[in-house]
Symmetry: C2
């Protein structure tokens, strides 16, 4: 099969005008200027469009999709408190439908790989149903003393076994996500470190997201500290920044993905570079939840592995990697100037090869070159807001919208094309009808909250 | 005619679920919950969608549309220098086609009113061809000493007469835009002040956009100062901030719209409030060209009239007011926290009623209420990235994209619906073919620049 368009962006080399990608058995065998082959059934010619590596969403929570925009206009602490309340209302099958809707959105937006942090495990179902590639990190919480080390590891092992069964023969891998240092007690963290290393699991941890998190861990102050005090729970105060605590516990290595790291200092950048720790950068979530602007320019300059993530639709409120690329550039330039090195090309690289590197998947995906998996997306350039396009990187980051995605392909299989999801086994409309029921229930709960 | 949808956002009151807007002779006569009227030929029922006032783009330059993304990854000074070079290459008819393409994009994105700053005058042609409402400010430049007061006023008068002829019987008004304090000499500014006041023209001035502008006017330093020195031109140094210079010249009043004002101080906010001066806020342009983040929260808090603008597609790179609303909220929250008061509701208000107020058009447009012009747009909520939607403001700002606009109406006439522009008298494809010729020429010029 040959996929052809006005532009091909291999990422590893300059954009190719009038290019094509040749795919055999799900693998890329050639990336080149268009050949003479014409009109064959196996040529997909998209004309005025860009072919680029499938986008890698380095951090989200697909299961939360049905809560899109349910918590608005609040700072981080209030936001997470209300989110935890709403999560408690959902059933197992609702988690699955919710995650599935998110996977559809990701596919329709040109995303081929999703790094998901899941409480329910529903993301595995969602990704495999739609035919997406992914890494699903099983979340671990251990707040109360009853959640002992033994109990936590036991529960985790059960959940991981389920995930392994569900991912067999798929393009989805399994990892472990100790949630954060304010939701997993330190002794449990230490045990999880030992466990994940012994078993060779990739790891994902939310770290240094909000000032309240820093205040709790450094000084035992702030809103999390007040909440734990009200619940008469002790939370160990280390007088240290969360990243420093993680470093002491030996979490910082090439197998660990830190999410956000927005409230970090220059010495942490050095630490990430020295330990090969990866970061999932979520600029829109950070801005919206008033957690600030991460030192992305410094990370990239020092060679830290950085992927771009949308975070969940409760904080963003879409899985749109195009909007995320644009915001990534705008937020950096607004505060750090154009010399911050965050160009449009850098944005596209971060959303593709950067994510692949951050997830340790760079040998399989992230660029268009022979031998890699045929994970790609095609973006129309002929819509009114995209014309003219002088430079394909600028067009992707500053003109294109996720709605301009014409086709998304994973390992040579089309997972989205012009409104259709060829791998999905049920009609989208049926899924939507089930979700409407959940939405009504959440609406009622929100209305109750408002009336007190 | 009745326009109906799941949500109507009148702006003047709470969102109406299952609402409708009743239009007679181009004017809104009722805004209410849906009535019993069914299936009549005059009912447009959009179902799972939001009806809101047409978006008011408070600042752009439509004529530059064919240069979309032609100057990238440069800070402000270099950007404007290269833009001036490219502008010199375009002919009169190319300006018109370029502006027309921009007007199409605006209409397709839900914009009904455009405040345009035009050098060539082409925006009048563009807006009237597509059927949009607007205010077109004729730009004035007077850099060299040869551009005397008399010559400048004479040329301006000629251009304004042409604009008046072209706008007769249309929904487009005429204004005057002395470009900036670094492109119009002070004596010419003074004469323009007298002229515009005598003739009653609304005024638009770019002010306090970049640090180089401030450096030139306050200290005679920076890149503009160097450029003028190289050209052996003197530029008067006032030792004052541009807004203070404008204040001294009595520009600050209810008829004046300042564009950007991003590099301003708290005392300027007080000045804007006291003098009823309006501001066109262009957050994406400011961020992208590394001019920083405006004190929007303070402006809104102090009751300054603020409209939202995309600026031209050379700096943005689209006329997408949805992306602009999202960036407006994200950029403020990133640096000022959620308490900055820039909520999703505030963003929609600024993009509609705010713009109408800033342009002095609030009696005709900006909200949906009886007696106002039937300027509105309809935004689909049933696309995968918009579902579910718990709150219509959050859905518009954080989920919806301009591509979700189903219909745009100006004074009761449909100017855009599902890919079509009913008022346009030539096929879009013909316009595009003409523009392709211009694009090729610009491409060649850009290639020459690169090779030296």
């Amino acid at each position: 099969m040959i996929v052809r368009a006005d532009w091909v962006l291999p990422i590893t080399q300059q954009p190719i005008e009038q290019g094509e990608v040749v795919v055999q058995n799900g693998v890329i065998v050639d990336v080149r200027r268009r050949s003479g082959t014409r009109g064959s059934a196996d040529v997909l010619d998209f004309g005025e469009a860009i072919i680029l590596p499938g986008l890698v969403n380095a951090h989200t929570h697909l299961e939360l999709t049905v809560l899109r925009g349910a918590v608005e206009d609040t700072p981080f602490f209030e936001w997470i408190r209300r989110l935890v309340d709403l999560k408690a209302a959902l059933t197992e099958s609702e988690w699955r439908d919710s995650a599935l809707w998110g996977a559809l959105e990701a596919a329709a937006s040109g995303t081929t790989t999703v790094a998901d942090t899941t409480d329910s495990g529903a993301a595995v179902y969602a990704l495999t149903q739609v035919g997406l590639r992914g890494r699903v990190y099983q979340e671990v919480f251990a707040v109360s003393p009853e959640q002992t080390v033994a109990k936590t590891l036991d529960e985790l092992e059960n959940k991981l076994q389920q995930l392994h069964r569900a991912t067999q023969g798929t393009a989805v891998q399994v990892g472990v996500a100790p949630h954060t240092l304010y939701t997993v007690r330190l002794e449990v963290m230490a045990a999880l470190r030992e466990y994940t290393r012994r078993k060779g699991y990739p790891v994902c941890i939310h770290a240094a997201e909000s000032s309240d998190e820093i205040a709790l861990l450094q000084e035992g102050k702030g809103k999390f500290a007040q909440m734990y005090a009200q619940r008469e729970m002790r939370w160990e105060v280390h007088g240290k920044h969360p990243v420093d605590i993680l470093h002491e516990q030996n979490w910082l290595d090439a197998n660990t993905l830190l999410v956000h790291a927005v409230q970090t200092e220059p010495r942490h950048t050095e630490l990430f570079a020295a330990t090969h720790t990866a970061v999932a950068h979520c600029p829109q979530s950070n801005a919206k939840l008033t957690n600030g602007i991460a030192p992305l320019g410094e990370w990239l300059e020092r060679g830290v592995r950085v992927g771009l993530g949308t975070d969940s639709v409760v904080s963003n409120n879409t899985l749109d990697m195009f909007a995320e690329m644009r915001s990534m550039v705008l937020l950096q330039r607004a505060v750090r100037g154009v010399d911050c090195g965050v160009t449009t090309r850098r944005a596209v690289e971060t959303a593709t090869a950067g994510g692949a590197h951050a997830l340790g998947m760079a040998e399989q995906i992230g660029t268009l070159e022979p031998g890699k998996q045929a994970d790609l997306c095609v973006v129309a350039l002929d819509n009114v807001h995209c014309f003219p396009a002088y430079d394909p990187y600028a067009a992707l980051v500053f003109s294109a919208r996720a709605s301009d995605v014409l086709m998304t392909m994973v390992a040579g299989k089309i997972v989205y094309q012009r409104g259709e999801y060829p791998q999905l086994r049920e009609p989208v409309q049926r899924l939507r009808e089930r979700l409407r029921y959940t939405v009504r229930r959440i609406r009622e709960r929100l209305a109750q909250d408002e009336t007190g």
